[in-house]
Symmetry: C2
Subunit: 516 residues, 2 copies
């Protein structure tokens, strides 16, 4: 079975992932350790994700701002758990000048900063400092802001989009008068993320609360959306944090209540990043490359003229140009349909496969015969093959123009349905005890292959252990390369079920999985 990528998902999932990133022209490694170059096709996807999410962030009452890239070292130290969580992995600016010594460019030792600056790994502290200045009365609350920014976390092992030293994200930060208001905000943005993942990226997720040990450093509660990749691993695709009054106490963010008392604000923060693109790849990609949900495809329809260096080429090209103009007048998902005529000088077959690998949802191939019968040859990227054969279909030009928006909606829905079936079909909950879970994930298997083959997730009764008891649970899981994902929202533990870890009565269920 010849496929467009040099490696299949089954052969080697990590290599397949990297092959998609390369061959779909999404990104490439840079000479800077752990930092990537996002190429136009990858950036185009991110622009569409941004546009959709930005509209939702504004619709829910938030305003965008911009805060400094650098954070004074002293700020990081203000919130104790925050320090602990982040202290080990930051880029630190210590000097501000270079100079030439013996013909060589070096750091000028005389330019050492009095206080080192950290390149922001996240902005709670620098934004909290502004909140302190901005808030004085309950009338100033809530403060609802967001920024689109680059952040840096010095990662030892990096992987394109999933974990890079520099990445791009949005970070929302809000301050409220009460715990209730702040929690409502935290959950509202979690729902915005769920809708983004499911409705825009066609990536089904499980919404829930992270266990105590997986909280954001300094948070009272962390919620996440978790998506299942095609290797069965979980990807944390977005998080929303209720920070309680922890940062407010550390940074003295207080307001005067209506009653005249001075109270600490309750704050939240929430973010999603370019990691989402990694999620899209591992949710929808196949052995021919990427498959893009139409809502985030930089080009939704690509026209490839079948030119043969013959006189009729000009006519075919003219036909394609008219077609491009006609399609460009259509709308899909409430926006102008994004169409491209690929008329660069290259073999038609190469162009076809370039667009297949890049995941353009609809390919239209147009040759002299199509033109003669006023039709196009349509290839749907989500249903590319029947066995080994490429599925293409002749369709009247007028018929395509009529159907195109619906067809794109159908592809969007189809990709979602496929992933949703995979997620729902691969969360098992029929485990008697922890040993059964361990056995399922291949702890007993001698070979690495069994350990790492597709296993989906386990859902198990959970008594919500804390402190040392929780640490012991995590240690047992870690030995099996497993992690606690989240406690799905709105799901009850079975009656009388016992926690698989502690044996105590379960109060909820928790998801267990290998994870990125």
């Amino acid at each position: 079975m010849k496929r467009a990528l040099p490696v299949t998902r089954e052969d080697n999932f990590p290599e397949w992932y990297q092959a998609v990133v390369d061959q779909a022209d999404l990104a490439e490694t840079s000479p800077v350790r752990g930092c990537m170059i996002i190429k136009p096709w990858g950036w185009g996807i991110w622009e569409l994700v941004q546009a959709s999410l930005d509209a939702d962030i504004k619709r829910t009452g938030h305003e965008n701002c911009y805060f400094p890239l650098f954070i004074p070292l002293g700020f990081i130290a203000q919130e104790a758990s925050h320090v602990e969580g982040f202290a080990k992995e930051m880029a630190v600016v210590t000097h501000h000048r270079l100079k030439v010594v013996d013909g060589k460019l070096v750091v000028d030792p005389a330019s050492e900063l009095e206080e080192p600056l950290v390149v922001r790994p996240t902005s709670e502290t620098i934004i909290g400092d502004a909140f302190r200045r901005w808030v004085s009365s309950y009338r100033d609350l809530p403060i609802l802001i967001n920024q689109w920014a680059n952040v840096v976390r010095w990662e030892m092992r990096t992987r394109m989009f999933l974990r890079t030293t520099e990445f791009l994200w949005q970070e929302g930060h809000t301050a409220h008068a009460t715990r209730e208001d702040a929690l409502e905000e935290t959950l509202k943005m979690l729902e915005v993320y769920r809708a983004l993942a499911e409705d825009v990226l066609a990536m089904p997720v499980v919404v829930g609360e992270k266990p105590e040990s997986e909280r954001f450093p300094g948070a009272e509660a962390t919620f996440s959306i978790e998506a299942m990749m095609q290797d069965g691993k979980a990807l944390q695709a977005g998080t929303s944090h209720y920070l309680g009054t922890n940062f407010a106490r550390a940074q003295n963010i207080r307001y005067q209540s209506a009653a005249g008392d001075l109270e600490f604000c309750h704050t939240t923060s929430w973010g999603v990043s370019t990691r989402l693109i990694g999620g899209v790849i591992m949710t929808h990609g196949d052995d021919d490359g990427l498959r893009l949900p139409p809502r985030i495809a930089p080009k939704q329809v690509v026209i490839v003229p079948m030119l043969r260096e013959k006189p009729e080429d000009a006519e075919v090209l003219a036909y394609c140009e008219r077609l491009e103009a006609e399609i460009g007048k259509l709308s899909a998902f409430g926006q102008p349909l994004r169409v491209k005529l690929d008329n660069k000088p290259a073999r038609s077959a190469n162009k076809r496969w370039d667009w297949v690998r890049r995941g353009a949802p609809i390919l239209l191939e147009v040759g002299p015969r199509d033109m003669a019968s006023d039709q196009v040859t349509l290839i749907r990227r989500d249903k590319l093959r029947d066995g080994d054969k490429i599925v293409s279909q002749g369709i009247l030009r007028s018929g395509f123009l009529e159907r195109a928006p619906d067809l794109l909606a159908e592809i969007q829905a189809n990709l979602y349905a496929e992933a949703k079936a995979r997620l729902d079909g691969n969360i098992r909950s029929d485990f008697e005890d922890f040993e059964a879970i361990a056995a399922y994930f291949g702890a007993a298997a001698e070979d690495d292959e069994a350990r790492s083959s597709f296993r989906g997730w386990a859902r198990a009764p959970w008594a919500r252990p804390t402190g040392g008891e929780l640490e012991a649970v995590e240690a047992r899981l870690k030995a099996l390369k497993l992690t606690l994902r989240n406690v799905p929202t709105g799901r009850q533990a079975p009656l009388d079920a016992a926690c698989v870890f502690t044996g105590r009565p379960a109060v909820e269920e928790i998801l267990i999985a290998r994870a990125y």
Copy 2:
């Protein structure tokens, strides 16, 4: 004459500028030296500038990408003049970890990087490195890319928007087969910047080439748009550089020509930044605050209900809500009209002045009497006063709805015309010699005030001196705090004119001004 700002332009222009930044709620200083916090109203302006320019950048065939924030020190050293131009002012990352020592958070000495990383002051070198990999044949050319990014230049004296350590910009980078193609690109993007400045920001500019001494480090030619601020100083508002083959030679960016030869690419780069917002302030602001051209006003129409804590308040509010919905259905400049009902609990008069200071183009005040006669009271920010008196006008609701888009276009045109008259009326060219120019700019004046009072620009015949001769010219100007701005495009030197500096026959004219 009471005005809404505590200081007038005439009193103290720099303080007036800072007052606008503060009181229009555009930005504030941060605890990080030289870095500012851009607040929602300021960021909203930047988003509109970005959206407009981004569309033009794409329309002219460029694609957006994203390159790393960090540049290895060795890259900066590759292009010799580039080093010289930038070497003195960069943030340098030398370590990648913090640790706690004796309860104090410090930089971990063990985490020193083998090669320091510079926070990008501009990205020619890191992008050129990618071009080297991306280009092999003439068929790969041109490469036309752009990125929106933050950059850092360690500035000793900073001023909000105009010169900050971190700033936001777009930087376009292109590679071409020939000098002609690259020069055409350089000038095409210069024209895009001119159109942005004049048509979108309503800020008239002079387009021209910078003298050799003012070129971008490593460029063969640098072109700029120069705007005249209300204190007569020039603001370089955008630059476009033809880099020749300098960076290509330094970084080995070569292509195989159709004839089979290996040739160096000709590259360009061009950028505009958040500095543009400083230009907008100093072009359009008045003693009551900012005046925003409607095309970049985050809110074009603001409705202020005149509430008096009386029963009819609810009715007035409902009337305003209907009005907001009706206005929101209109279009202006081809986009949905941006309207806001300011219903926050504050005194109406305070709200009025907040929006005056922020520069919202149209204010609608609505009280019970307006409602009773189905009208609104309209205040145009561009024509706020007649003498000391605020000019407001009752207008039927239906009439306003009909006229609103035209009114916004009229305000946009009016702000441009006002600034254009100032620019055109304040470039003097009737100087006999350099002494006359020096005298005009107050070199002879004893007091600082005469030196710094409004003087506009001088335009003088220019023989295009180079090297040491040019250095001498600049030294003479520097003593008077004057600078060479650019050689306006398409303007001939008067017949037989002699260069005011060298006495040799002039080949063109050059602009001389104080500058930001």
